[in-house]
Symmetry: D2
């Protein structure tokens, strides 16, 4: 949405919010990139994240795709605003395998009330990235409690 | 789809598949109900499942909604078939809170290749159930490896 | 959502809104049922509504499913409010054929800002109804201009 | 998906299929671009396509977005194959207004059975294009009847 950086205060707010999400540390997810209108989350492979065939579970894939979009939205919000997911839709287009997954959330449209994001999840082995899921998400901006 | 029971072999296949999903035990999820065209999964509350406001994370909600639909589909499959999620869409309509979440997957249409399920997730406190999420899912039937 | 009737003023507002939608009369759609939290729209078969195999086009199916949900939402709104569709998702589960299609929109959750509806479309031949599409929709309430 | 052209036979098949869709001519839609993995459809403004506030109806927007994705999928299919829409999801992110709408369907993943497309719809006034809708779609390849 812009080539500027996310200001330090907003970065701190987002990182504090990420750290306050019990699920993220329980899964082992890391917030790696924050740019205006974009956020990335990585999730290293472990057996605790698998479905019955040994790939990353669709639940694990979704668990990082959704907040990647959410935080992407927050990068464009004014101070005092946070986000709730209204809904998302995700297509699982290839087996989710690799050393880790990388979820990328990008804002498509940032409105006063509603934000729409595109979601992508890649399976990463060494330098090779394979697109394993694509999604689309609607967020609503709310006042921080 | 039917008022018969799921035959014992199919139940065993599904429970073995559930037990082989590392994510389900890592989250603490339990497969509670299997009926023809329906499956239910419960997820007791713990801090490791939360988002930043202390509710169940949308990722946790999705992580049980998706396999509830998937196993609902499998209850209607012949021996030797298993399932992959093509895509799902979920609306988060109320704060996901309670002693536990209950995800209910129900088959809307079971085809030769594709199955469509409706998904519901409830937050349960004592005897009170609140609908916290609704979804719709497409599955594809594949041969067991 | 209630077993009361939609009050006459709200019915008039909704019917005026339906009549003001050029697309509805161009397709030949009729608003047939208005109940609190529910609306139904019928669309008689004609060649002008088909896809390449002679069935109703997915665009025709969607064109009545979306406003059925929208008007279902409006039945629960206070005076002075109208609706915009935020997004919808629709699964086309059987060939859309019949003397006419009937779209049914039902409110799943009516909030202050957002409403979530379930959508169903049936193909009707004589007394026989076949479910041809299911969907899920998010609406936003806005002030009437 | 490729920078080659769509071969003439495939173009003819797609154009014949488009011309056989009664809804497309009833709405006044034109198939404008066919590239490997991409198709574009334009829809000039007329009152017969409007919702109650005078914008293009979401049904009109969807009616060109869905086949834009479908034909994008077919550009990559072998002879003898055609397409059915499994499902699509669309976010309506701005008032759909302009001299015409342009729907763009692009293949994200073309598989043996399933194809996933991204959908965009623009409102066009003179040289200015505004993104009014984004969507995501699942297609299934079937044998031509």
């Amino acid at each position: 949405m812009s080539n500027n950086q996310v200001d330090v205060k907003t970065q701190q707010r987002i990182r504090a919010s990420f750290d306050a999400q019990g699920l993220m540390s329980h899964l082992g997810a890391k917030l790696t990139v924050l740019k205006p209108g974009e956020a990335r989350i990585e999730l290293p492979y472990r057996e605790e994240l698998t479905q019955h065939m040994g790939y990353f579970h669709a639940g694990a894939t979704s668990s990082i795709a959704d907040p990647a979009g959410g935080f992407a939205g927050v990068t464009l919000f004014p101070k005092g605003s946070t986000v709730l997911t209204v809904e998302f839709k995700i297509n699982l287009i290839a087996p989710a395998q690799g050393d880790y997954l990388e979820a990328v959330g990008k804002v498509v449209r940032s409105g006063r009330t509603l934000t729409v994001c595109g979601l992508e999840v890649f399976g990463v082995v060494g330098n090779e990235k394979t697109l394993v899921a694509v999604g689309q998400q609607t967020l609503i901006r709310v006042q921080e409690p």
